[in-house]
């Protein structure tokens, strides 16, 4: 205990903190030589008190408030919140709405997974992958703009419906844009899943066992890469997921490679879902015209790109929620790093922590502390550089 206290006194957190980026976290790695012996995760640097703010906003305003929780999953939170209110009222949004919401949710999954892929490439020293992934993410944002008018913060959800319709005349053009993503994804799949150097760098690295995944109640691709088969889209169908054909991607190995593979293959499933939704979309109203929210409580949950996103809302019949509890998937997935990183090499630390897919500023705030001297020996930049150098050594014949 006294040892730990000492560590706390000598560590200087590396900053500066960037409040513009999502989810700043501070990982303190404890190392012995090249091996990670322990990790301490500190969060809360950018806690904005959104649950508290929600209590003074009207039910309609909260939709836009929760959209600002995250810039990457800016559809997931309003979607889950609207489902919570609809659960509270015991109603269902019109059918056409479910299809439109599903299309947006899956486009969001594609752009989020591509973003992860690019950054994972960067951490490994594959900057070409980084450039490609972000290049092919652009057309996805163009599709968003075509449908919603915005490249980010789509503002599509409202209580009991969506704010904009997808115009039938636009559908062929959108389908064409979506189909153009497939060859790009094929290239990625080949470049990453079949690359021997990536196998050497990622296979068997940062393993999260199925037992640990269940103990930490891991979610989304992190859980599914460890054989823990949980996907809210299938388990508790919402939107149009029960009306289209698609597969849940599950891998058994639990290492970083499995997590990458799950995400890459999920993009194909998302494309399948979007295609079917756009073709099958029924005609009809897009709004249930909710005027007021009665007293009661409701829970809404969806499968965000990172896993189950759950909202609990209680109303007393007034204009604002009495209580609004929000749980984003990273809240459950980030602590799994403790199970997957201990015993691993320092050079692999950045990619293991990144494999959880927290928002990325996290790894910027990483420090390595030598157990014997209690001094910070490496910064986040050093760690990324070490990860890249390890790959570079494998490239040489």
């Amino acid at each position: 205990m006294s040892d730990k206290k000492k560590i706390r006194q000598t560590v200087i957190p590396i900053g500066p903190f960037h409040p513009l980026q999502e989810e700043p976290e501070f990982f303190k790695l404890f190392v012995d030589g090249e091996t990670v012996t322990d990790i301490e995760i500190n969060i809360g640097y950018n806690h904005r008190g959104i649950e508290k703010i929600s209590e003074v906003k009207s039910f309609d305003q909260v939709t836009f408030l929760v959209e600002r929780i995250c810039g990457i999953c800016s559809n997931s939170h309003p979607f889950a919140y609207c489902l919570a209110i609809e659960d509270l009222m015991g109603i269902e949004a019109p059918e056409r709405t479910s299809f439109i919401r599903t299309v947006i949710a899956e486009l969001e999954r594609i752009h989020s997974h591509l973003l992860w892929l690019g950054l994972a490439g960067h951490f490994l020293g594959y900057n070409t992958v980084f450039m490609w992934a972000w290049k092919y993410r652009e057309p996805v944002l163009d599709i968003f703009e075509a449908i919603t008018g915005n490249r980010n913060h789509y503002a599509m959800n409202k209580l009991g419906g969506v704010r904009r319709d997808i115009i039938d005349d636009d559908i062929p053009a959108i389908l064409k844009m979506v189909s153009e993503l497939v060859p790009a994804m094929d290239m990625f799949k080949g470049a990453i899943i079949d690359d021997p150097v990536i196998h050497a760098r990622l296979k068997g690295v940062g393993i999260l066992t199925k037992k640990d995944a269940i103990a930490y109640a891991a979610l989304g691709p992190v859980a599914r890469a460890s054989g823990f088969d949980v996907d809210i889209r299938r388990d508790e169908p919402y939107g149009a997921y029960d009306r289209v054909k698609w597969n849940v991607i599950v891998e058994q190995d639990g290492d970083v490679f499995a997590k990458a593979k799950v995400r890459i293959l999920e993009i194909y499933e998302s494309i399948k879902i979007i295609n079917q939704c756009l073709k099958k979309m029924p005609k009809g109203p897009i709004d249930a015209n909710i005027k007021e929210v009665p007293p009661g409580e409701g829970i809404g949950r969806i499968e965000a790109p990172r896993g189950e996103c759950i909202h609990y809302v209680r109303s007393d019949g007034s204009n604002s929620p009495v209580r609004h509890k929000i749980r984003a998937p990273s809240f459950m997935s980030v602590p799994t790093a403790k199970a997957s990183i201990v015993g691993q090499q320092v050079a692999d630390a950045s990619i293991i922590l990144a494999a959880v897919d927290p928002c990325y500023c996290c790894t910027e705030r990483m420090a390595v502390i030598d157990k014997k001297t209690n001094k910070q020996v490496l910064s986040a930049q050093d760690l990324v550089r070490m990860g890249q150098e390890k790959t570079r050594k494998l490239w040489k014949p």
């Binding site: 806690h47 649950e51 109640a217």
Partner: protein, 147 residues
Amino acid sequence: MAKQLMFQIKDKLGDVVFQLEDKSAKRTFASIHKADLRQVAGVLHKDFKARFSIASGIDNVKNFELLYHFSFDDLGKIISIRTFVEKDDPVIDSLVPVIGPAAEWIEREIHELLGISFKGHPNLKRLLLADEWPEGKYPLRRDFKNE
């Protein structure tokens, strides 16, 4: 299948659940006394393989209310365990010894935002609030004033 499971759960828990409300096919709320929390959570998590999704804490002015949301992924259903904690004795058993590390962060969060203590939690320090935040001020309590 969902009905059968509900019968089994009711059977297993007996009179521990004093109020059971099936809000819809997907949502059930079960009220229990706080002394029975570990037993109920253990039954749901170990015997019925429920996944702990999250807990919500609410300040009802006259008391605190805690909801533990357990997800039954095979059935597409959430069973929320509802329990109450008195204002003058804001202490409840921690679930970490029963369901593992999944409950660690949320109990730390409820502890600092609502001021409820979790007995048996391995590391009940602050999660989100800054180190400079004054002791004894709980932002999610109704009597909290933003100065």
